[in-house]
């Protein structure tokens, strides 16, 4: 078979036996009812097994009897209970949208909460915020589930026992004399800050310390050293034509990725007539989301970042690069420098390092390329991260020295996330009065004497100032579910102020805005934006740079194995760990769920694990079996044992481990047995926490541990192996040379059927149907999509998609209607990556429809491939016949929807059972059926939203418009990669996208003549080396064959 350009797995790259066997099998399971399993083992097929007639009759008899018993039950009497007094503006069954704000540990995203019959069930981005423009992230989408988390604290605790707020207030009033220390995560709310200030004034000697689990201390300190201001400027990737990132994961976890993803995508949108794109050069230690999207990327050691920064500074100044010996890296620096110099005043360099010197050098580079005042704006500073690590280190020392009597924790969880957690614990034991305000009994809260449950942000009033001058507001969307009290209320009370925070906030803002009416109006919009945005640069302090350069130059090159600790997009620093949606969201980089692990490069796999991925047998052995080898990693006397995943794109001498796992069991069922805490491996140098270490030793333990990896799920091929590439990728240079390359490719493919124009009619024996009125269509721009996964979680929330738990994911049973496929191309050690969101393609000539024996799936006149759950009898023929593998089968009773109770016990794990708890179920969307066991389900194009949008237009007696409908994935996307609408309407957005991008549009597996309703726009990469690398790999392949 011809070598494919793109590959998903090592087996596919090697075209191995196991790969070819697996792609022939739709389902991993053998068919049931095999009396003599040895028949199968001997290589016989199911058909040769003894006929299980008796079993068949037994099951038939039982199911008939069961159905009869179930059906003859008496109809239950149902009640219809109206309100006692109906609120005026509430219509049952109609959703209200309230503008509020997602706030978590310094992350701020303006959202609209969809409230249905008093319950918030979905968060959508707020278009009025100029920072996010309606974008969200996976964590924002999943936040609504946290509201209904059964692990939330239900009442206040005093010394571990239930207490009332009054008693706690009394006790604390007696104890609170003298200085107190308030430890919080980054607080973005001006009002909360004012309340804290009031408290500090009332209790002289007290102080407020900001603690961020993964801080940006080095940037704050570097800016202080360079510009005299301890602030973070706002970055404008949209204005940057060249972006160089020194392992800063700005699309995933760095500062505010939603904002940056939006800006970054504007530079990547391609106008077919005047093709131009920004260029992104990335230096990567461990494969990351941002690196995967880069136009050109180079792998390096974490310890080399300083030298690279110094080299880049020299290069942009036109000086020779010193201190870098690696040829490829040198080339990378030259490429980066060229891009930066070529786009002076429109270029930007960012670094993810927590080393002050690196950040100072990066400041110098940005100064040299004219970024300040252009792509970096010191006129609008951002408040996302304010913590300085050394401040908290002092608190820990003070606690241990017995200098602190009272400590208050709000949003900070140092017992879990401080590298020297033992010191925090011992210190905390010496503090007389420890108070925690937290929604859950997390690691720190569990050690505090007083626990005052904090409300969820959807239950709270508040404000936030993510960037100077940009305000966004919180209003409650539901009455507090439990006995909770806002942090601010307690502080106000304890500083002798009788007003509660709600009144405080209202008074404060009514005063600022002039009237209560103005406040209400602002609250309705949810945001308050500055009328004009100030722009300011900053002048660089050269002395600091010289000093930093000297320090970097003095450090010796490292030759040992290095460790990079990183955050996953869903889990973060542990905030997402208890959320089942986020745990089950395949990490975009590794496509693994429910665990953390050690990431190694293919070349290290060869030396450490004896797995040569170019050897088909060894690659299969690694890939086919979920249990992965466990390796003991030791650094600085601390060790951790985790399974190993081989991820191409990682530096050969660097390993990576995700933070945020191994949480305390009290924070939720989802954390039990999922991963290990890697924070203790971080080290503190010069008061700053560094998330990378040198001198790492690795040893194979001989044990294995299963990792639920989804990268190899849902792949398929025909018996003839004729399934060709499903993604199309092209470089900008190639595109400029021949813009119609992809179009020509499609034309050639369909040539036997009369070419593209006549393909629909001539490629089939079926008649061509008319679609009067509406024909739904979707388009996904692979250039904008960065694979962040917000759409996957949004789809979960909107469509009641079940969580199945790790054991089921291991069996390939995950239910996601929308998955993001990850394709590699080129060199295995540093391949290019393309993400492709794949959902039901709603084929007009759908192969699934023809094979359903009960017509449970069929086509609508609007072009939807419909799935009717109640008609489905679960033959799974449709899933078998789907070339895209987007149909999902309910193998077990994931949702608790079966008529028979106890169909879950012992079959699915506790996390799944907990998802059907009465509290958790409040998150379900009442417009979407909860599927029961034994039926197929799949993407419906959010048909409930389509119907709602059409009805809205009908009620107003007007034609339906684009604005009436946004499907869930489209709404959640921070980069507007997804367009959706009526393809029959000449003025709709979807038609425009298709008309404006004829050269990049393509259908997946077009040659099958399934006529999908989803178009993709091919990925265009702004690099020239791509084709060369591809040719090289082809040559290598040819050599091997020879």
């Amino acid at each position: 078979m011809e070598q494919k350009k793109h590959w998903q797995s090592f087996g596919e790259l090697n075209n191995s036996e196991a790969f070819n066997a697996e792609v022939q099998n739709e389902f991993k399971e053998e068919l049931p009812f095999v009396e003599d399993e040895s028949t199968l083992e001997k290589g016989g097929s199911f058909l040769q097994a003894k006929a299980p007639r008796r079993d068949f009759l037994k099951y038939l008899g039982f199911s008939t009897a069961a159905a009869a018993v179930a059906a003859s039950c008496e109809m239950p009497i149902k009640k219809a209970i109206p309100f006692a007094n109906k609120p005026e503006d509430l219509v049952p069954g109609i959703s209200d949208y309230y503008a509020t704000t997602y706030v978590q540990d310094g992350d701020v995203i303006s959202v609209l909460a969809k409230v249905r019959d008093g319950r918030p069930i979905k968060l959508e981005g707020n278009d009025l915020s100029p920072l996010t423009n309606g974008g969200t992230s996976a964590r924002v989408q999943a936040a609504v589930l946290d509201l209904y988390d059964t692990a939330r604290l239900r009442f206040p605790l005093m010394s571990g026992k239930e207490a009332s707020f009054e008693n706690i207030d009394k006790a604390i009033a007696a104890e609170l004399n003298g200085a107190a220390v308030i430890v919080t995560s980054s607080i973005t709310s001006p009002s909360t800050k004012a309340v804290i200030a009031q408290f500090l004034a009332k209790h002289p000697g007290s102080k407020h310390v900001t603690y961020d689990a993964v801080s940006h201390s080095s940037m704050l300190l570097a800016n202080e050293a360079c510009y005299g201001k301890r602030v973070l400027p706002s970055y404008q990737f949209d204005k940057a034509k060249a972006v160089v990132s020194l392992s800063a994961d700005f699309l995933g976890t760095w500062l505010n990725p939603v904002e940056f993803a939006k800006q970054y995508a504007t530079g990547k949108k391609l106008n077919e007539k005047t093709p131009a794109m920004s260029k992104h050069v990335h230096f990567e230690t461990v494969a990351s989301l941002t690196g995967s999207n880069a136009d050109q990327k180079y792998t390096c050691r974490p310890s080399e970042i300083g030298a690279i920064a110094a080299g880049l500074l020299s290069a942009v100044k036109g000086q020779p690069i010193t201190g870098i010996n690696d040829v490829k890296l040198k080339e990378g620096i030259a490429v980066a420098a060229d891009a930066l110099i070529g786009n002076k005043n429109a270029a930007l360099v960012v670094a993810g390092s927590n080393d002050v010197n690196v950040q100072i050098i990066v400041n110098a580079i940005n100064d040299a390329i004219g970024a300040n005042g252009n792509t970096i704006n010191f006129g609008v500073t951002v408040n996302y991260r304010q913590g300085i690590d050394s401040d908290f280190a002092t608190v820990v020392d003070d606690m241990n020295a017995g200098k602190i009597n009272t400590v208050l924790f709000y949003g900070a969880n140092p017992v879990y996330s401080w590298p020297q957690a033992d010191k925090v614990k011992s210190g905390l034991a010496k503090v007389k009065t420890s108070i925690s305000f937290n929604a859950k009994l997390d690691e720190t809260t569990a050690l505090c004497k007083y626990v005052l449950p904090a409300p969820h942000f959807l239950e709270s009033w508040g404000d936030a100032e993510p960037a100077a001058g940009y305000y966004t507001f919180l209003q409650p969307t539901i009455s507090p579910l439990f006995k909770t009290r806002p942090f601010e209320d307690s502080l106000l009370k304890w500083s002798g102020d009788a007003t509660d925070f709600t009144t405080y906030l209202k008074n404060e803002w009514s005063r600022k805005l002039g009237s209560e009416t103005a406040w209400n109006k602002t609250l309705q919009a949810g945001v308050l934006n500055p009328t004009s945005v100030p722009t300011a640069g900053a002048s660089l302090n050269g002395a600091a740079v010289a000093n930093a350069l000297a320090v970097v130059a003095a450090s010796k090159p490292n030759t040992t194995i290095e460790l990079a600790l990183y955050q996953k997009i869903g889990i973060g620093a542990g905030q997402g760990a208890s959320n089942p949606w986020l745990q089950e969201l395949p990490d975009p980089v590794t496509r693994a769920t429910w665990d953390n692990y050690i990431i190694v490069s293919p070349s290290m796999a060869r030396t450490l694990l004896n797995i040569d991925l170019n050897n088909a047998g060894q690659a299969d052995d690694y890939e086919v079996h979920p249990p992965k080898k466990v390796v003991k990693l030791t650094v600085d006397g601390k060790s951790i044992e985790l399974p190993v995943l081989i991820i191409p794109g990682t530096h050969p001498q660097t390993v990576g481990i995700a933070l945020g796992y191994g949480r305390a069991e009290a924070v939720g069922k989802a954390v039990i047995g999922t991963g290990k805490n890697a924070f203790p491996l971080a080290c503190i140098e010069n008061g700053t926490v560094h998330f990378n270490c040198t001198n790492v030793t690795l040893s194979v333990t001989g044990e294995t541990y299963p990792v639920a990896l989804t990268q190899t799920h849902f792949r398929y091929d025909t018996a003839q192996g004729t399934r060709t590439e499903v993604v199309k990728e092209i470089t900008l240079a190639e595109y400029k040379k021949n813009p119609t390359e992809i179009l020509e490719e499609r034309e050639a493919e369909t040539k036997p059927y009369g070419g593209l124009e006549k393909y629909e009619a001539q490629g089939t024996i079926y008649p061509v149907y008319e679609r009067p009125g509406i024909k739904w269509g979707m388009s996904v721009d692979l250039n904008s999509c960065n694979g962040c996964g917000a759409c996957v979680v949004a789809c979960n929330a909107e469509n009641n998609v079940a969580v199945v738990g790790k054991p089921e994911v291991l069996r390939g049973h995950e239910m996601h209607w929308l998955r993001i496929d990850k394709y590699f191309s080129g060199d295995m050690d540093n391949p290019n990556v393309v993400f492709q969101p794949l959902m039901c393609q709603h084929c007009d000539n759908a192969p699934c429809e023809n094979v359903c024996p009960v017509a449970a799936t069929n086509h609508s006149s609007e072009g939807l491939n419909q799935m009717t759950y109640n008609r489905c009898i679960g033959t799974r023929y449709c899933a078998n016949n789907c070339p895209f593998k987007v149909r999902r089968f309910n193998w077990s009773d994931y949702s608790g929807a079966d008529s028979f109770p106890d169909n879950q016990e012992g079959i699915v794990n506790d996390v799944v059972i907990n998802m059907s708890d009465d509290l958790t179920r409040m998150v379900l969307n009442p417009d979407v059926t909860v599927r029961s066991r034994g039926v197929i389900e799949k993407c419906s194009f959010c048909v409930q939203r389509l119907q709602e949008g059409k009805l809205k237009a009908k009620k107003d007696s007007r034609p339906f418009e684009d604005g009436d409908i946004k499907v869930a994935c489209q709404q959640s996307c921070p980069t507007n990669a997804i367009s959706f609408g009526n393809a029959n309407d000449k003025h709709s957005a979807i038609t425009k996208v298709r008309v404006e991008n004829p050269n990049r549009s393509f259908y997946v597996l077009e040659q099958l003549h399934v006529l999908p309703n989803v178009t993709y726009l091919a990925k265009v990469r702004n690099s020239d080396e791509h084709e060369a690398a591809h040719e090289a790999s082809n040559e290598k392949e040819a050599e091997k064959k020879a």
Partner: protein, 418 residues
């Protein structure tokens, strides 16, 4: 037989649809009485002081009819003109502001005033119901006739068979063919085969019908916590359905009224003096006692001001139940589709306690979708179906049949199941 039956059903359903839609139109007629019940009745009665004054003789009390018009349309503005009578009235009723009716025309007001005049003085019986159209006669059951006929024919044929066999026996005797031992009919294979086939067919039919009726509850009429008569409210007193079922035009659920909506009127209406209320089983219901039940839920003591926060919701028994996997939206049908309430709920204005009128089966829904036309020309939404508009004009599509719900995809699975 079954074909005939279903034919009869279709005919009767069709008849009913025509009849009931005419009822719907009648209800929509903007005469004085309905205007009064829609706009005024929540605060005013003709002969009784409620939230506002009794309206009998209102024209005589106002010196100028023009002022009266202005007052009704926008009382707040009129008050500001400083009119003495208006201000006196305002103060007399504790400065309770009257609702604004900017949409009422002078003609409408005249119609209302005309109605007020037409109502006899207190003590007289309330005006008869306006819904005068006759209900369609119950499905004329010819099944019985056909059944009887079949039975008679079967008996006749049996007798004939018996006669035939006797005659054959006689002729055989004559011909000298020795008679075979008579086989009793219960061991006759032909009989057994015939009977088992009949049993199979009848049994199969009954099982299927029975199975199909599982979970259906046509004619379900549970006893409710309060005997609430739609006949009294919607029939006799002509209260618009949406006065109570406020969600009908906007949302999925029609919604049941909350206690404060009941109390809007029942603060004043504390006794029932109308026609005797009789349950289906013949029991007579004391209307006044039922109103007192409402007061109990509302936490209202007569003669004292009502504190709405004391109200408790009424736990009505739900009559119309759809399975969870069915999506039904009232606004879609009533607002966009202009379907009258009675089409699905029967002659609700004649029901005492509500009874489920339709079986709410999928066949029932689909049949209606096949026959009912959408508001193709009147609703701007359908302008996107350009081809159908052209075909209607050119006569390619039968304009009498029009564009049915089915034609625009209204019988596809995912219109109701998702």
């Amino acid at each position: 037989m079954t074909i005939l039956r279903s034919l009869a059903k279709i005919v009767s359903i069709f008849l009913f649809i025509t009849l009931s839609s005419s009822i719907g139109n009648q209800l929509n007629a903007q005469d004085g009485k309905s205007l009064f019940s829609q706009n005024c009745a929540s605060c005013h009665a003709v002969n009784k002081k409620l939230t506002g004054p009794a309206l009998a003789g209102v024209e005589d009390r106002w010196p100028d009819k023009k002022n009266l018009y202005a007052w009704i349309k926008n009382n707040a503005a009129f008050l500001k003109t400083g009119d003495a009578y208006a201000n006196k009235l305002y103060n007399e009723y504790n400065k309770t502001a009257m609702n604004l009716f900017p949409t009422l025309t002078d003609k409408d007001i005249d119609a209302i005033l005309g109605y007020i005049k037409s109502v006899p003085a207190a003590g007289a019986a309330p005006a008869g119901g306006a819904a005068t159209s006759t209900a369609p006669s119950d499905e004329s059951d010819s099944t019985l006739v056909f059944g009887l006929l079949t039975l008679i024919l079967a008996v006749v044929s049996l007798i004939l068979l018996q006669v035939n066999s006797n005659l054959k026996k006689l002729s055989d005797d004559k011909a000298g063919i020795p008679a075979v031992d008579p086989v009793p009919f219960y061991r006759n294979k032909a009989y057994i085969a015939f009977i088992s086939i009949i049993l199979f067919i009848v049994g199969g039919y009954m099982t299927t019908v029975g199975a199909m009726n599982l979970g259906r509850s046509k004619d379900y009429q549970p006893e409710q916590p309060i005997y609430y008569s739609h006949k009294v409210h919607a029939g006799v007193n002509q209260i618009n359905c949406q006065y109570c079922h406020t969600g009908t035009y906007q949302g999925k659920q029609a919604t049941l009224p909350s206690v404060n909506v009941c109390m809007n009127c029942h603060m004043a209406i504390n006794e029932y003096k109308g026609e005797a209320l009789v349950r289906e089983n013949g029991d007579v219901v004391d209307g006044t006692a039922e109103i007192k039940k409402l007061y109990k839920y509302a936490g209202f003591t007569e003669g004292q001001p009502w504190d709405a926060t004391q109200a408790k919701p009424i736990e009505w028994v739900r009559i119309h139940n759809l399975p969870d996997h069915v999506y039904f939206n009232h606004a879609q049908h009533v607002n966009a589709g202009q379907v009258a309430c009675q089409q699905c709920h029967g002659e609700i204005q004649k029901m005492g306690e509500v009874k489920q009128f339709a079986d709410l089966s999928m066949g029932w829904c689909v049949n209606c979708h096949r026959n009912t036309q959408v508001q193709f020309k009147d609703n701007g939404f359908y302008s996107i179906y350009e081809k159908f508009h052209e075909d209607l004009k050119s006569g390619k599509l039968d304009s009498a049949k029009g564009i049915t719900v089915e034609k625009i995809g209204g019988t596809e699975c995912q219109k109701c199941h998702y």
